[in-house]
């Protein structure tokens, strides 16, 4: 049984998705989704512990040996990503029941849960597989279900933003599959480990740099790196609250993982950074993303859109860490994957609570909520502090490693930009906090505090923000080992 855990991680949610559709009852489908997401979390924890103890796990689908068949290959890096995705999934699903009943019409709720589990399956699949074409297949599973989830938003604009995401996401996926196809033509293999062995022989051809370029652009579209980010703010703003919380903390993270996997494992750090000079592209874009997207966030009137732009800036931090191509830099990038998932998950979930009681997440609609919904707004404040990077929160830990990585290479201007980003984060977080705490609530019935079924999952993530901010040994240690595994040093 335990030998089959890598595939059971995928198969159980994959089977749960059609079952949730067949149950066809809002509550029943939710129970199926809950079971699947908690199962995924349990298996991810078991896999991470096994990888940390015994090293890389390999599983042959269909019993076909590795370079020919599809291989699931789990090392520290993807075990950590699996934990992030399944952890957020396991927290958002209990939250989704009440939130979705309010925001999605009853007839569509079973299909909502179906799409939600499919999205989870796809994201887990991207992380678990060691086969590049399988990555593409799971990418399509997660993307198509994400488009459907976003389109279920209450606002009519949800449809157009899902369509916009569909077009941009399909362009990204097409670029990725073109890149994979070119690699396959040149090497005759789709297995990542096998590709890594065979690519150096043909690296001097013109095809491989073209494949590299297609993959870079395709993946950067998926992870919404500036200037390929235009689909993201609308998609996050108009999606149902629980979808925003889930997708914001997992989908772009998994895309960053794909970037890491392709550039460090498949192409190798030497080819990506010395020959192709990827850092010359990624670093300036990351810096522009941090500054410009934070500035744009300050001017937003909708709190969800504000956080969406903040997410774009935070993606800049991850890419900045990765573009340093050192163990500390990649550690900072991976650590921020985890930490940003915690803070954005918590923040978007508090906005879901506000949506549930107030019916709007525009900043001015949040006046006086500090008094009327104290627990919700307290969660927002802690999440915001984490976003800024105040000590004792996870945000501080990732910024610490990022600054450390920049100074290690003597690039102190980068450290300045990171700190400037924090300063801008203070401004956009304050914008919401000021309205919520220092403006009187509007006349009429004050909104009640959000129900416990929303508050408990939200606070679970808030506590995680604090816990992993104080005791970063686990996360930073695993992130460091993941970075070492990707860069092929240490061990």
């Amino acid at each position: 049984m335990s030998a089959h855990l890598p595939v059971l991680l995928i198969v159980v949610p994959l089977l749960a998705a059609p079952l949730a559709a067949l149950v066809r009852h809002p509550r029943g489908s939710w129970v199926v989704a809950l079971g699947a997401s908690w199962w995924a979390l349990g298996v991810s924890i078991a896999l991470l512990m096994r990888v940390l103890a015994d090293g890389t796990i390999s599983y042959e689908i269909g019993g076909w040996a590795a370079p020919w068949g599809i291989e699931y290959r789990i090392d520290v890096a993807n075990a950590f990503v699996l934990l992030i995705v399944s952890g957020i999934g396991a927290v958002v699903t209990p939250y989704a029941r009440v939130s979705v009943e309010r925001e999605v019409e009853a007839a569509r709720i079973p299909l909502f849960h179906t799409a939600f589990i499919l999205c989870l399956t796809g994201l887990l699949g991207i992380a678990v597989t060691g086969d590049v074409f399988n990555v593409f297949v799971f990418l399509e599973i997660s993307s198509l279900s994400a488009y459907a989830l976003i389109a279920l938003g209450q606002d009519r604009r949800a449809l157009t933003s899902a369509y916009q995401y569909l077009v941009m996401g399909s362009v990204g996926a097409t670029f990725i599959v073109i890149g994979i196809g070119l690699l396959y033509v040149m090497t005759g293999t789709l297995n990542m480990a096998d590709l890594a062995v065979r690519l150096p022989e043909v690296a001097a051809t013109r095809t491989i740099p073209v494949a590299f370029a297609f993959l870079t652009v395709g993946i950067c579209l998926k992870l919404a790196l500036f200037p390929l980010h235009l689909w993201l703010p609308n998609a996050y703003t108009f999606a149902p609250s629980s979808v925003t919380a889930f997708i914001a903390s997992t989908a772009t993270k998994v895309a960053v993982y794909m970037l890491l996997r392709f550039f460090f494992t498949v192409f190798g750090a030497a080819f990506s950074f010395d020959v192709m000079q990827l850092d010359m592209v990624l670093m300036p874009l990351a810096l522009v993303a941090i500054v410009s997207m934070s500035l744009v966030a300050i001017y937003q009137q909708n709190a969800k859109r504000l956080l969406a732009y903040s997410s774009l800036a935070q993606i800049g931090y991850m890419i900045l860490g990765i573009s340093l191509a050192s163990v500390t830099g990649v550690t900072a990038g991976i650590l921020h994957l985890f930490n940003h998932a915690l803070m954005k998950g918590a923040l978007f979930m508090t906005l879901g609570c506000v949506m549930y009681r107030v019916g709007s997440v525009r900043v001015e609609a949040m006046a006086g909520l500090g008094k009327t919904m104290p627990w919700t707004m307290a969660a927002f404040v802690i999440g915001g502090l984490s976003l800024i990077g105040v000590p004792l929160t996870v945000g501080f830990v990732s910024k610490w490693y990022l600054v450390l990585a920049a100074l290690e290479q003597g690039l102190w201007p980068l450290a300045v930009v990171v700190l400037l980003g924090s300063l801008l984060a203070v401004m956009y977080v304050w914008k919401v906090v000021e309205v919520a705490y220092f403006q009187p609530p509007p006349d009429g019935d004050p909104p009640a505090e959000a129900p416990l079924s929303l508050l408990v999952p939200t606070w679970a993530l808030v506590v995680a923000n604090l816990y992993f901010g104080i005791d970063a040994k686990l996360t930073a240690g695993v992130a460091m080992r993941a970075a070492e595994a990707l860069l092929g040093v240490g061990q």
């Binding site: 089959h4 595939v7 059971l8 198969v11 994959l14 089977l15 998705a17 059609p18 079952l19 559709a21 067949l22 599983y59 042959e60 689908i61 269909g62 019993g63 179906t114």
Partner: protein
Amino acid sequence: MDDRVILRVGAKFLIPFILLFALYVQFHGDYGPGGGFQAGVIFAAAFVLYALVYGLPNAERAMPPRVVYICSALGVVIYAGVGVVTLLKGANFLDYGVLAHDPEHGQHYGILFVELGVLTTVFGVMVTVFYAFAGRGRKDG
């Protein structure tokens, strides 16, 4: 369309052969071109033709949307279910060899069942998409 006798008779004549051809493509999939996806599309095409000639309400009576919905979910269950059976028999996921005494027969059965799952889901989704577009603007949406 009551007056278009040629269309109605022609469609009535063609539909059984389209369905049969879909099954041929399905079962021939492991020897030649074809397989579950193509078969599912052809199978769905028969119902699309029926709906075009005899109207959507008749088609929905012949193939109720509820059944189509169940089909689109059931196919995935069949596909993954074959994998689960191989797991229960002690082999890796989708290792068809253990499905029969002779591994070669096992591979054969495995592929057939998996393709049946593909056919079911593709058929279900194709007809669902057609019903969704054809039913647009009608009162019950």
